[in-house]
Amino acid sequence: MNDHGLDLSVSIAGVLLENPVTVASGTFSARDSGEFYDINELGAIITKGVAMEPWEGNPTPRIAETYGGMLNSVGLQNPGADAFLREELPYLKMFRPKIIVNIVGKTVAAYCSAAEKLGGADVDMLEINISCPNIKEGGISFGADPKTAAEITREIKRVTAKPIIMKLTPNVADISEIARAVESEGADCVSLINTLLGMRIDVHNKRPVLGNQMGGLSGPAIKPVAVRMVYQVRRAVRIPIIGLGGIMTGEDAAEFLMAGADAVSVGTAALVDPTAPVRIKQELIDFMQQYGYRNLREIRESFLNQNN
């Protein structure tokens, strides 16, 4: 229960989040975002992708604006697992939100080493990024096929006892099939959607806008696709879903909950307005009060009851 008499909490794979608002991987930096709002307001922090070794990322420009959205081709620049454990995790531990470490790799073995190492640290869950469209090896190549998605889930479950969230890509014909494949191998949760592969061409200079030519599309422009996919996956699996993709307001968050998400992530909105996660949380509270919802389950069920 919070001060409003509402219960915003949600349990994901046995991990209790105070509220359903999390920050999407790659769009949050505790030290930098924390200059704009109190991080303790979040339900969970999902870190930037962490690999075993440092990654340099892609050439610039890495950002291009699109109508109601943006493309990024950052390419998972990260300082590696050792630097994360040394410099980032102790800082995150000073705050209340649950810590979900996003893991990236180029091979199954690399994912597993990272999962073993980071899962062994004082973190709450691991999110396995098998959906980044910006790297040549790894990333999306594991998440686009049900067989490889199942295999990597199975291998990671072997090396860590921490709950794992498989982050799914929308760049597939049938996302339900991938969700079922990872659930069958023991995934504790799925998060969706990662970005949609996109491209922009500068017609005046006749070249791609991004240094890496293509990038991942995010922001409000992709929200209907994300809602549709959460809705489909909800009907395909029983494990919890973290829904994301273009959430800009509390009503957007409610939309994902009605589609079947247990929690939500705010990503691009926080790049536009650094305080978006806390604003969206407040707007969700306002929405619940407006309609008399006392907890998140009531939001989900109100939609189901009316549409089944």
């Binding site: 109508y67 943006m70 926080a270």
Partner: protein, 271 residues
Amino acid sequence: MTKAIIEAQIIDHTEITRDVYRITLQCGSFLSGVSPGQFINLYLNDKSMLLPRPLSICRAEADRVVLVYRVVGKGTKELSGYQSGGSLLISTPLGRGYDLDDVFRTLDGRSGYGRIALVAGGLGVPPMVELAKAIRKRMTGRIKLIAALGFRDETFLIEELESFCDEVQIAVENGSAGFQGNVLAMMEKQGAEADYYLSCGPRPMLKALAVICSGRNKPLQVSLEERMGCGYGACVGCACKTKDRDSGTVKQKKVCKDGPVFFGEEVVWDE
């Protein structure tokens, strides 16, 4: 919380030369701690353009900030249509500006007269105004402040810089005023040597200046430009390769947060 997104009133908005606009915003007392070289994120009212526009601070006084920008695309075109009297959302100052302590430490360590040169090209000129103002405030009589400014066609902000600098040299590519050619050619020809260089402008200019400064063993700080996402360090869109000045270790830094101002010798120019 040390930073915020705040509403600002547009109290003046003028086209000072073709396609170059000066916008003056009133925004409460959040600007007290501005350091020259910092920038402000400006949020457009048309929400189909999601990302903030980072603009360097040209002048900051108590509750007012002046930004000077060129219309180069859809966002700045939209911005140029905003009328004075209206309002818009901006961030409080972002990024790391020029390290003036280092400038004065270097100059104070010398005997006799010292010269500081501000070297700017195009839209690198606006932040030089606040920088010149801040230097003037700390200067003693044995320091001379000169500005070497390069423009493509029309000049702007010359008077503002003249009010803070001992000397302002102008180079215009099309020869319509001052020296005909680029700013570095002008400096070469007019022998504008200094003990410390502070610069902002197109990357090729900064790189060429870095080579000159390195050859003369003179310190240089440069303000880099890169396509930004969030502007406050969260997205890592605006990376730049740097090497540690002592260890030589190469590292990706964030232009928006670790910069935009870096030491010239710290930047890996050839990528």
